[in-house]
């Protein structure tokens, strides 16, 4: 028994890890591959390499026009500098904007409460902490509540942004809190104040910049989660441009397998691209400081 544990324990646990990674990542890779195939009816997708699925999902192909005319949204034109423009599906631009709005609210509500809990001791601190890091209600329930409390507002951009910010706030608070907990908050605050900085100024010019990496990672996480939010959007959305997650669900439920794969792959690309972009911004901010 002793020998068995020593000999097989580690390989078995490692194999379990690798099998789980394969289970989690395998279908993602397969989806991206399938998005370049023209059909998938046998064991593996076939008919490589075609960009037709991507063109249709992004609304660049002719065939998509007919679907658009059946009530799907038109493309929007975005300037990308230098006089060139790029056409993107309206759902995409819409969701990027909604998620950014949600993230802005998270910044304003999440960073201060994370600081209060990390820096100060006060009665009820444990409860404030629990409330700020545990999701209050799931998206479906919040959706029902919004429909009831704000019938006019709930399906609009404002309603979606406010809903996203509440649903994703715990992730912001947790990310910022873990950064704060690695900083000597009390001494930083007291040093700055003894040097004559008022408390608000200390918070904004010393504490927040020192925590920028945690704040940026919180923003990335919240952005990605808000852009992909489905449950709340599904309940409250009524008309107009659809949020991205509903666009994905429509493809998953109604389109051919390879086209759905392209839609889902597009979503993977967005998550990856925004993550890189925000990391880049964070690093540039780090390098340019002090000049």
């Amino acid at each position: 028994m002793v020998a068995v544990s020593r000999r097989v324990g580690r390989p078995v646990v490692t194999a379990l890890l690798l099998a789980t990674v394969a289970f989690l990542i395998g279908p993602i890779v397969l989806t991206v591959i399938a998005s370049f195939a023209s059909s998938w009816t046998g064991v593996l997708p076939s008919g490589f390499v075609t960009l037709q699925n991507w063109r249709e999902v992004l609304g660049l192909a002719e065939t998509f026009g007919s679907q658009r005319s059946m009530g799907w949204d038109p493309l929007v034109t975005l300037p990308i500098g230098g006089g060139t423009t790029v056409m993107v599906p309206a759902e995409l631009a819409f969701s990027v904007g909604l998620a950014l709005g949600g993230v802005l609210i998270n910044l304003v509500v999440g960073v201060p409460i994370a600081y209060a809990v990390s820096r100060y001791d006060f009665r009820g601190r444990e409860w404030v902490n629990a409330v700020s890091i545990l999701p209050l209600v799931p998206g479906v329930i919040l959706g029902v509540a919004f429909l009831r409390a704000y019938p006019e507002l709930s399906g609009t951009s404002v309603g979606l942004i406010v809903g996203y910010s509440l649903l994703k706030a715990p992730f912001m608070v947790m990310a910022v809190q873990s950064e704060f907990e690695s900083m000597p908050l009390r001494r930083l605050e007291e040093s700055a104040r003894s040097l004559g900085a008022s408390w608000p100024r200390t918070f904004l010019t010393v504490i927040v910049p020192n925590a920028s990496s945690g704040i940026i990672s919180g923003l990335i996480i919240c952005w990605a989660l808000a852009a992909a939010e489905f449950n709340f959007s599904y309940i409250v959305w009524a008309k107009g441009t659809q949020p991205l997650a509903l666009f994905l669900q429509r493809h998953i439920s109604n389109s051919s397998f390879t086209k759905a794969a392209a839609a889902v792959s597009m979503f993977f690309c967005i998550i990856a691209a925004v993550t890189l972009l925000l990391q880049q911004l964070g690093r540039r901010g780090f390098e340019t400081r002090g000049h």
Partner: protein, 246 residues
């Protein structure tokens, strides 16, 4: 610089009393050491002078002005911590010039003054460095320069040498001691290390259980301790002091 007076200061947290009627004066240009075991109230004393704790009773005066309820940012005190607490989002020069910036001093003057101070502390030429790339001793000098830059009414040092290695500590003790004397700084030096207090300070206050047991020159305290506690605490034999954090 100013004369700082604590007048019967009492500080309670719920049922515990951290300071129980502490009175003493730090004269202009004098460095007073506050010495005692952990939990004796020495850090609370420092924080009351800085303004981070408002006394439950009693008064804190800078010269003749009562500052008991004045917030820390309006007191003009310099603060040096054991763990430096430098602002990692700024360069060394920006750290040193931070207090001047808060006082609206223009940029060129700030930079010049920061460079002078760093030069004086033996780390000239480090202006544009990232503070995280400096050694512990260098960071501590930046912290000291930052506190001195505002020409504080009183410089408060909270165990600034703890955590440095013995050799560096001895060197810094002499250097910083000379510097404080040369600049005629009014200072309060909190430490649990009696040797450090003896070397650095003009007078020493020995605290125990929220009260000042004795205050006097190092020589007076060493030669004429008023109580067994003081005698034991200032004796230079560490094993006799099991309750001190070594």
């Amino acid at each position: 610089m100013a004369r700082v007076t604590l007048d019967s200061v009492r500080k309670e947290y719920g049922d515990t009393t951290a300071m129980d009627g502490v009175s003493f004066t730090v004269d202009d240009g004098e460095v007073v050491g506050v010495l005692g075991p952990s939990g004796c109230g020495k850090t609370t004393t420092l924080r009351s002078i800085a303004g981070f704790e408002t006394p439950t009773a009693g008064a804190v005066r800078f010269d003749d002005a009562d500052v008991t309820n004045v917030p820390p940012e309006n007191r003009n005190v310099g603060l040096v911590f054991q763990e430096y607490a430098l602002f990692d989002n700024m360069t060394v020069a920006e750290n040193v010039a931070f207090g001047l910036k808060m006082r609206g001093v223009e940029k060129a003057t700030r930079r010049e003054r920061a460079a002078d101070l760093l030069e004086m502390l033996g780390i000239g030429g480090f202006e544009d460095r990232d503070p995280t790339t400096l050694s512990g001793g260098q960071q501590q000098r930046v912290g000291l320069a930052r506190a001195l830059a505002i020409e504080p009414s009183i410089l408060l040092l909270d165990e600034p040498m703890t955590g440095l290695d013995a050799k560096l500590k001895t060197r810094l003790q002499t250097e910083v001691g000379d510097l404080l004397a040369e600049l005629d700084v009014t200072g309060l030096y909190v430490t649990h290390d009696q040797e450090e207090a003896m070397v650095m300070c003009d007078r020493v206050a020995v605290m125990n259980d929220g009260r000042v047991e004795q205050i006097g020159t190092p020589r007076e305290i060493y030669e004429n301790p008023v109580s067994d506690f003081v005698a034991e605490f200032v004796s230079l034999d560490p094993p006799a002091l099991p309750f001190v954090e070594w």
